[in-house]
Symmetry: C2
Subunit: 146 residues, 2 copies
DNA sequence: TTTTGTTGTAACCATTGACATTACATCCAT
DNA sequence: ATGGATGTAATGTCAATGGTTACAACAAAA
């Protein structure tokens, strides 16, 4: 199972914001054009980022503001804002293993800490990258493109 | 998006094998009972593990053999056997970003290495745990249970 | 104050994947 | 041969993803 494209779309949105906000009004239509999807899809993702407190969206006039310094906002925060994971567990268990079976009733004790360690190592790596990396990285790429 | 329960079910299967194989013939019915699911679900997962070369399943008579030493088989190998991920990428992109847009045509250059690093850190952690840990871990738990 | 452009959302729809279930052909040791 | 397994096709249900249309709410500018 792959992690849904909404996460990479969110990173795409932030990158567009930084690259274009000087010279363009970055609307959901504009973003949908760059990402090649539907404006409503963008608005739904913007709503999630807004609910997480990461951005402010101006109604009526349009326009998006990032609420905090770019170096402070990590990929992990974006991921958390976007992915609605049940009690935060990356790995899914089959519900209700048989409590009559010694293995069935202890499988969680056995696996939980190991799976948590795996999930943590992914999330820790996510915390190493910030929106500032997106801005600088894209500016670099564009400077070399010409 | 959570990783499907088939992965934890596979780990459950291996644990049952080690705990019960001495005294019971471990069939798909037996496993389905411990996990609390349908035998056909178990057989499909067994088929994946078989295709990956991790186990041998005896037709007719029934019974499952692990093909290699337990210390050699890591969670990562089980994960790879079970999760059919398109070209191995954990993170999904929206298809066909707009090549007319500077961000759209460069979003992969910008993100690919970072996302790969995140995925790698998860997979590296997965390589730290083996089927031997499952066997020993469960034996420990059961010894304390009495 | 009306117009214009934008966001917020509801209401759908199609597709896909996970998980479940039934049914039956196939296999193999006894 | 037969009894107990596996292999697998066919089908169903459910939830999530991604898309689309439509329209109300809103705010700035004409």
């Amino acid at each position: 199972m792959q992690i849904s494209s909404r996460f990479t779309v969110a990173l795409h949105i932030f990158t567009c914001l930084e690259v274009f906000k000087e010279n363009n009004k970055v609307t959901s239509d504009f973003l949908a054009g760059s990402i090649n999807t539907n404006p409503v899809i963008i608005r739904k993702i913007l709503a999630q980022l807004k609910n997480a407190g990461l951005i402010t969206v101006a109604r009526g006039t349009g326009g998006i503001t990032v609420n905090r310094p770019l170096e402070e906002i990590t990929f992990y925060e974006v991921y958390q804002a976007i992915e609605p994971i049940e009690n935060g567990d990356l790995f899914h268990f089959h519900e209700a293993p048989n409590p009559e079976c010694p293995v069935g009733r202890n499988i969680h004790s056995l696996l939980d800490s190991k799976l948590k360690a795996i999930q943590n190592s992914m999330e820790d790596e996510m915390r190493k990258y910030t929106l500032a990396d997106l801005k600088i990285g894209m500016q670099d790429i564009l400077a070399k493109e010409i």
